[in-house]
Subunit: 270 residues, 2 copies
Amino acid sequence: MVLYLIGTGLNDERDMTLGGIELMKAADKIYLESYTSILSQRADLMKYTNGKQLIEADRKMVEENCDEIIEEARNKSIVLLVVGDPFCATTHSDLVLRAYEKDVKVEVQHNASIISAIGCTGLQVYRFGETVSIPFFDGSWQPSSFYDKIKANIERGLHTLCLLDIKVKEQTIENMMRNRPIFEPPRFMTVNQAISQLFILEDKLKQSVISPNSLAIGVARIGSSDQKIVSGTLCELSDTDFGSPLHSLVICHPDLHLIEQRFFEIYRKK
Amino acid sequence: MVLYLIGTGLNDERDMTLGGIELMKAADKIYLESYTSILSQRADLMKYTNGKQLIEADRKMVEENCDEIIEEARNKSIVLLVVGDPFCATTHSDLVLRAYEKDVKVEVQHNASIISAIGCTGLQVYRFGETVSIPFFDGSWQPSSFYDKIKANIERGLHTLCLLDIKVKEQTIENMMRNRPIFEPPRFMTVNQAISQLFILEDKLKQSVISPNSLAIGVARIGSSDQKIVSGTLCELSDTDFGSPLHSLVICHPDLHLIEQRFFEIYRKK
């Protein structure tokens, strides 16, 4: 049989593909990954399981029970639902790799991902350099590799898509030490938080990568009926309310092309 | 009313989203863009039009009748079906921009695009630099900007996704001059042709970007049941038969990460 990795797209169950729905209905068992997502899709997806349970799979579960899931797929039809496109997280690549190495068949149903959907800002998708992730700073833990990558992208005339941190099922150190299964409420980085971290790094590293006048576009809930796209300077966006998650941020190359400029004006903070 | 841009995904009608199907069924009029695609979806998509025609829209049509389509959308529900994700071609950005500027509402149904689906090669999607397009050389017309971009990506430790040229509804210069609506058969660049063009540029520019030993991954028909992924050196891939279109090519950064290496071995040309 087969291990199916099915992308669920950007938002709700209307983003599922026909092929994905078919496979879900026919599957013996369905896992839903819960560590890169906000799970707003869960209830809606239940409509298409033919009465089967939707088994929540957090990162630990997928990583630790990886071999078990693969063994199940040897004789059964196993679905793992993944938010966005299945290959945009390393954990899934690792799962697929192990399945291949054990000669278990893997099939993928691709779906929309923020990596291409970000084109809805009007910025040309081919003009993006390396995508970066901005993690929540924690006290003195302030990694800066994303700052260097934004710098390198700008030097090459490119925009940068910044994916903002998601903390789901995190434990405090105390709870972890005592092995207590108590989890902190999920946290999703806002555009505002991302900008303030960028300012902190600029203050510290002083490479003139980021300034209050840098052009940027903040987005929230892309692809949903209440998506929000606002362009402006980082200073302007730093107090813009983007509402509920998920948020992403684009740091634009300062020289926008003509079409990009016109989109930028349309989305400009009023 | 609304102008809906609906992504059709990578292959057949099973890649359509539920939301996209709903909108197609309810639409007053449906256009299907025919210039970035191979139209293999056409017959299948007809199942979901509720008896409406699927109006073929080539690039000329979308560009020249842009204002007309937008005016239609002022009072009707107009769908434009676009292969992949709607914002991956500049023509569509231009259409959306004009609609916004005329105060006509636009909604987008995103879908899978090769830009994120390329992750199925096992290369990390975040480790890709700027995407390039390789156009068919024509006599002495041998543009080389993609060669420079591959070079810049490698220098920064990044892979390069090369989208290969598609020529649909092209006219000979003679037919164009005489205004005869006679079109050449569609042409799709193969992985082999792309590689031979890369070798031509290396011979000419001698920047040591491309060599017969460069690591690369060729892909064809990604997301379909007969997709093909083959990794190897450019020399090995230069005579690999990838079958029918569409093809794409990844020029890898020579230092693959550990997981990337293991995928590379799995897809290695035997």
